[in-house]
């Protein structure tokens, strides 16, 4: 098929700020035509898909995933992780640099880009290390990393504990106008912690991680953003105090943005009472008041982005005693579905707002241009069915990491097709 004709879709173009029902014709990687109705003469050469009831948006970006390659291919590979992302509705992902070796050098970035291209499932935007080997001590070579194609800098998985090092990293990052994605956690305060500190950590006998461990570092990084003028992005924000700090920083006009992960607005620490290691994640699942604060932050725009913090792990790593299991949820495949279920269907966010958190939100944090749905632009598109109810079933799972706390849950609203450069990379239309 040379051409693809998408018919009767609700088009939410968050880039051009418009919303209408219509058809999209795709030809040679690009959008050839967008109109209320498109008629085609040579049907032989065109695949026509009726998208009545479905929504088409600019290609969605998950700006926080761990693809694990190179180094931990038992957890995930770039091929499997990007396939999972495509089935999750994403045309692009930004991958974190906590690989082995760490992505603090051009060679590792080149490898990631090459593997991503070979897989061809979605675009991969590499994030480079903030410090060498993510040790929090010596600044990585941002200039070389930028030339190699990184879109941002981060030591995600760890924060930079030394404030002086962080200050210089942020200062130096402004030279290349790269955003700093900060994993905010006071390691001393959080050390040994397994779940959110509160009633459940007490009755389960698992060491708690206080909300203050996150809030302290968010406050510090905001102070450093003010000092240095750097673009600061707070990763996986999970606390009431943290959301409030970002809100005030934005009011002050600082270049501070934030993202939230779906499990931090949909699941509370009550889930950990099962000792199911799929609920073990860092930052931890918090209590109800924190969940409500994250939702409020998404609603009022304090939180710009929804990102999965996709952290796949192998079965043998997770099928152990709770304190021995690694942190992380395999979330890229359920990210959009969980958001539709818990934010759109509960009336917390409109579809338009929700789409922004996955498109213009991450694009503006990362400083990348994304195309609107208009003639001549590259056809990176996400199609989802907001009304489709489906169970999270590990039998139809694409990530190697089966560590999902949503297994067996029914979610309403699912991606059904992902188009990258005019090519369908995931399709589950029924």
């Amino acid at each position: 098929m040379k051409r693809l004709l998408l018919k009767n879709a609700l088009i939410i173009d968050s880039v051009r700020h418009r919303e209408f029902k219509g058809d999209i014709l795709i030809e040679n990687c690009k959008i050839k035509k967008v109109a209320e109705e498109i008629e085609i003469n040579d049907r032989e050469e065109t695949r026509t898909i009726d998208l009545e009831g479905k929504v088409v948006t600019p290609g969605m970006i998950d700006m926080h995933v761990h693809l694990r390659e190179p180094g931990e291919e038992n957890k995930e590979t770039i091929a499997t992780g990007t396939k999972a992302a495509a089935y999750g509705g994403f045309t692009a992902v930004a991958c974190m640099p906590n690989t082995y070796p760490a992505a603090d050098n051009e060679a590792t970035i080149e490898l990631i880009k090459r593997r991503a291209e070979e897989a061809g499932n979605c675009r991969v935007l590499p994030v480079g290390c903030l410090t060498k080997e993510r040790q929090g001590e010596i600044m990585a070579e941002y200039g070389f990393l930028k030339d190699a194609g990184v879109v941002a800098l981060s030591d995600d998985g760890n924060g930079v504990m030394n404030s002086e090092v962080m200050r210089h990293c942020m200062e130096y990052a402004t030279l290349y106008d790269l955003p700093v994605l900060s994993h905010c956690e006071d390691e001393n305060l959080a050390e040994g912690g397994q779940i959110h500190e509160g009633y459940y950590s007490t009755i389960l006998g698992l060491q708690g991680i206080p909300a203050a461990a996150e809030e302290i570092m968010i406050a510090r990084d905001i102070a450093l953003a003010e000092l240095t003028g750097a673009r600061l992005h707070i990763c996986h924000i999970s606390t009431k105090g943290g959301v409030e700090l970002v809100r005030r920083a934005k009011e002050k006009g600082l270049k501070v943005t934030a993202e939230a992960a779906p499990h931090h607005f949909s699941l509370s620490d009550q889930e950990t009472a099962s000792y199911n290691t799929a609920t073990k994640v860092n930052p931890p699942l918090r209590s109800e008041e924190h969940i409500q604060a994250v939702i409020a932050g998404l609603k009022d725009g304090t939180i710009d982005v929804i990102a999965s913090d996709h952290a796949p792990h192998s079965r043998e790593e997770k099928e152990v005693e709770y304190p021995f299991a690694p942190f992380g949820i395999s979330g890229v495949e359920t990210c959009l579905a969980v958001s539709l279920h818990y934010l759109y269907h509960t009336g917390k966010l409109s579809l338009r707002q929700l789409v922004e958190k996955f498109t213009t939100g991450p694009a503006s944090v990362l400083g990348i241009n994304i195309a609107g749905i208009e003639e001549g632009s590259l056809a990176h598109l996400t199609v989802f069915d907001p009304e489709l109810v489906k169970e999270v079933n590990l039998k139809n799972w694409h990530s190697l990491g089966q560590n999902t706390p949503y297994a067996g849950k029914n979610l309403k609203g699912w991606p059904v097709m992902t188009i990258v450069g005019g090519k369908i990379t995931a399709e589950s239309l029924t």
Partner: protein, 314 residues
């Protein structure tokens, strides 16, 4: 009637009736301990393995003796000398025991939730003999047994538990058990050793030792581990003993007939003075005897009858 669930993981999710059944059964078991020939055929042909991932003297020997008195075959699986040292996972160790036809596993583990993980993955019934800071149900049962023996009933008693509440599985099991039976629980310790939201479990929380002692019918002192001092949770052994140590002076602040308990092992001169340990108010040795009786009762109730639900619940 027996224990309804396959595994005994804690006292949070068992009923008041089940607790009463265990305590009543333990009464008839205690009598056996005082016999000259302590051997019954009740559990002949049943096998119990104790799987201890942490050192233990009294709990492990207490379980083993309880099994032997009832005629069961008991075996201690030394974790340090087993395949666990070679990197075998808990689930695989459990599968191995299952394949050998074991009827029950008694597990102690430093990780909270480990007995649940084991129970969910094996056919043999599981008793939690202490998991991390989570629960130690048989300790709480023997504590309640000892209290009931002296006071007749648990309803209306005030039990003050003093010390390292944060790191104590004994406290958590006692809270669930005692509050279910209608007793009031006071937990007392320095703020650094009190866990978050502990009041939400239905206990009274006080930091002043004297306040905790005043109304108590039972004073339960907890072992203070000296590594907590290294972690900066209290400044010194000396200051701890002064603020939270039970000695003749502080004991005189409590009711005249207040009962003194300790789950052991004891740090003499730190949380409890030798005089108090040896005083008439102390039931610390009786607790050990009660431990055998309660464990006999549990082995009898759990192996002598089938469980109702096929699934383990926590």
């Amino acid at each position: 009637m027996g224990i309804k669930t396959k595994d005994l993981l804690g006292l949070k999710n068992i009923s008041k009736e089940e607790i009463e059944l265990i305590l009543n059964t333990a009464e008839s078991m205690e009598e056996i301990i005082y016999r000259d020939v302590k051997k019954l055929p009740t559990l002949r042909g049943k096998s119990v393995v104790s799987l201890f991932y942490e050192p233990s003297t009294r709990t492990r020997s207490s379980f083993e003796l309880a099994g032997k008195y009832l005629g069961a075959d008991t075996m201690n699986m030394g974790v340090s000398s087993s395949s666990v040292k070679k990197g075998e996972t808990l689930i695989d160790t459990g599968r191995t025991l299952d394949a050998m036809g074991i009827d029950m596993v008694v597990i102690r583990h430093p990780a909270a939730g480990a007995p649940k993980l084991l129970g969910e993955n094996i056919k043999a019934r599981v008793i939690n003999a202490g998991d991390g800071y989570h629960e130690h149900p048989t300790q709480a049962l023997l504590d309640m047994y000892t209290m009931r023996k002296k006071f007749g009933e648990l309803q209306g008693l005030t039990v003050a538990i003093i010390g390292d509440i944060l790191h104590s599985r004994v406290v958590r099991s006692n809270i669930w058990g005692l509050t279910k039976m209608g007793a009031e629980v006071i937990v007392c310790g320095p703020p650094t050793l009190l866990p978050a939201d502990i009041a939400a479990t239905g206990v009274r929380v006080v930091t002043c030792f004297k306040d905790a002692l005043r109304d108590a019918d039972v004073i339960m002192m907890l072992r203070i581990q000296l590594e907590r001092q290294q972690k900066g949770l209290f400044p010194s052994k000396r200051e701890y003993a002064k603020m939270y140590g039970l000695n003749k002076e502080t004991l005189s602040l409590a009711k005249k007939d207040a009962m003194v308990m300790h789950p052991g092992p004891i740090n003499r001169g730190v949380e409890i003075s030798p005089e108090v340990y040896e005083s008439v108010q102390s039931v610390i040795d009786e607790q050990v005897t009660a431990g055998v009786a309660v464990r006999m009762a549990l082995l009898y109730l759990m192996m002598g009858s089938d469980f109702e639900d096929e699934k383990a619940t926590s």
